[in-house]
């Protein structure tokens, strides 16, 4: 069956839908492109026509009040939530298509959650190598070498054989990030990765995210850390009641907000 990550991409240009050339206007296909994305839970419309483009090597921070649809947006990209209308294009392929091999798509996207969600019954090393070995078929030795290298980079080499429960929240979250990047995903989704951490642990996680961004990872993240967004994001997207009401460089969005909702949001966040 279709179980390799390449299959998802070859499904892109299905003859007849006439959209093979999408995203090629600026010369390169964006890693992710959302077009008119809509999602409702019952009567409640959470996403009301989202258009968003994420280019390679871009770090994009999505900001907005609770309930603005930030998390739902990330969940639709990872196909955890189905969508009601619109398109989700991953490297030009519409992955919202019901014929999509969801496992193949998810294997190409790294996700980190607010609550870490490490596997408590596996050692740190096995957490990190699980996807490489079981999804991508990387040999054990090679996967473990990669994992050891990544763990060493985040200063947790000594914890490879430990179980996640022995680690602090910040350490667990950094392991979760390493688990997500161990398979070199095309896109990294970070959903409020510091919201469950003690204030003094937030820094170590954000430093790692910053480092990944500088090394060229493509990151779409939701965050409440405005200071971090200002310093690291290439672009900030403000979501308000399920719509992108403003986006641009950190300076534009944070210092010269136009939309009244953004002005109000920033006033409350800075207070």
């Amino acid at each position: 069956m279709t179980d390799t990550s390449e299959t998802g991409a070859t499904r892109a240009s299905r003859p007849g839908d006439g959209q093979e050339a999408r995203g090629a206007s600026d010369g390169s296909v964006p890693v992710l492109e959302l077009r008119g994305l809509r999602k409702a839970f019952g009567e409640h419309e959470v996403l009301r026509g989202i258009d968003l483009t994420v280019h390679r090597h871009e770090v994009i921070c999505v900001i907005g009040a609770s309930g603005s649809g930030k998390s739902t947006l990330l969940r639709t990209v990872n196909l955890i939530e189905g969508i009601d209308d619109g398109e989700v294009l991953l490297q030009g392929t519409d992955i919202a298509d019901p014929r999509t091999d969801v496992d193949a798509v998810r294997a190409r996207i790294g996700v980190v959650f607010q609550q870490f969600n490490l596997f408590p019954h596996m050692r740190v090393l096995d957490n990190v190598t699980l996807a490489s070995r079981r999804v991508h078929g990387v040999p054990k030795a090679e996967a473990e070498a990669t994992a050891h290298r990544l763990l060493a980079r985040i200063g947790l080499a000594d914890f490879a054989q430990a179980y996640p429960d022995r680690l602090s929240g910040g350490q667990q979250q950094r392991v979760a990030i390493v688990r997500a990047i161990a398979t070199s995903p095309e896109l990294l989704l970070l959903d409020e990765v510091t919201s469950a951490l003690d204030p003094q642990l937030v820094g170590e996680v954000l430093d790692l995210v910053r480092e990944l961004g500088e090394q060229g990872s493509t990151i779409l993240m939701t965050t409440h850390e405005m200071h971090f967004a200002r310093n690291v994001a290439d672009r900030i997207v403000f979501l308000h009641r399920g719509e992108v009401v403003e986006q641009g460089t950190p300076a534009d969005v944070l210092d010269r907000p136009q939309h009244p909702a953004l002005v109000e949001f920033l006033a409350r966040v800075h207070a």
Binding site: S5, N78, I80, D103, A104, R106, A107, R108, I109, V111, F113, Q115, N117, L118, F119, P120, H121, L130, A131, R134, V135, H136, Y163, D165, R166, R179, A180, T183
Partner: protein, 292 residues
């Protein structure tokens, strides 16, 4: 005795304060008192029961027919040989129950509407076999199935094993299903997000955590099954119980039954202790702060 030993204090630790010394003294006194109280009360209960039983009017006759040392020694090899069959059935049945029970639990947990008929079948199966007395299943399988005349001839212990697997996998399936539902949905979410398929998520993430959560309940079913294996004797298989029955018929003495019973307890004990120890070790390494 200025520094009490055995309190777990490293050699480099400073001498305990006056208050701590006093506390330790108090704890030691309390400890000694508890030991004395429990020892005395245990002794009293044992003595009361012992004299109560020994002074019953029929004790001499009961002692003769149930607790005859010579009969016990004479029939022990025979019963032990029968027990070997129980152990073999137990091993095979455990594997069968593990496989069938897991399969049933997984099928019952399927959400996709496509699997509705399969899910219904699994539910009906667990409902039926948890309700049916094992002895009736044994009769149906042990005498009914061979009676159909389509299966090759099998010794009674084979039919008995099948009956036990049928019954116990329905219990184990329910226990495992409870364990799988107790695994937090965020674990499935994380696994699926890594690209693991539904099947791999179950096998690598959900089931290992589910089994850890329900190990005591599974052990309970295992020990229960361990002694129910003795019921294959009603099909004519010469196991420990049947051997005891034969010995009883020869000696007109019930002591062989007691021998068989004690042997069942003896083989279940190490299993219980070993799984307790394994569960404790897993908990210690995977969970911090597990003392309360």
């Amino acid at each position: 005795m200025t520094a009490p030993a055995g309190a777990g204090t490293p050699a480099t630790a400073p001498a305990p304060s006056q208050i701590e010394v006093e506390r330790r003294l108090y704890r030691r006194q309390r400890g000694r008192r508890s030991v004395v109280v429990s020892a005395v009360s245990t002794l009293v209960v044992v003595l009361v029961v012992w004299f109560g039983v020994v002074n019953t009017p029929g004790w001499a006759a009961v002692q003769q027919s149930f607790f005859d040392p010579q009969t016990a020694i004479d029939t022990f090899p025979q019963v032990l040989l029968g027990l070997w069959l129980n152990i073999r059935i137990l091993v095979v049945a455990s594997i069968g129950v593990a496989v069938l029970g897991t399969l049933l639990a997984v099928v019952r947990g399927l959400r996709n509407p496509v699997f509705f008929p399969l899910r219904m079948a699994a539910t009906a199966y667990t409902d039926l076999f948890r309700g049916l007395p094992l002895i009736i299943v044994l009769y149906l399988v042990g005498f009914g199935l061979p009676g159909l005349g389509v299966f090759p001839r099998q010794p009674p212990e084979v039919w008995g094993t099948i009956a036990i697997v049928l019954t116990y996998s329905s219990y184990v399936a329910e226990v495992l299903r409870a364990g799988m539902e107790a695994v937090h949905p965020s674990q499935r979410l994380a696994a699926r997000s890594l690209g693991l398929s539904h099947a791999k998520t179950l096998r690598l993430v959900v089931l290992p955590q589910a089994v850890r959560k329900v190990t005591p309940a599974l052990m309970n079913d295992f020990v229960s099954m361990q002694k129910d294996v003795g019921l294959v004797s009603i099909l004519g298989a010469v196991d420990a119980v049947r051997s005891a029955q034969i010995a009883q018929a020869e000696s007109y003495n019930f002591t062989p039954y007691l021998v068989a019973g004690l042997l069942f307890v003896v083989i279940s004990l190490p299993l219980i202790r070993v799984t307790d120890a394994i569960a404790r070790r897993q908990q210690q390494r995977e969970q911090t702060g597990g003392t309360v």
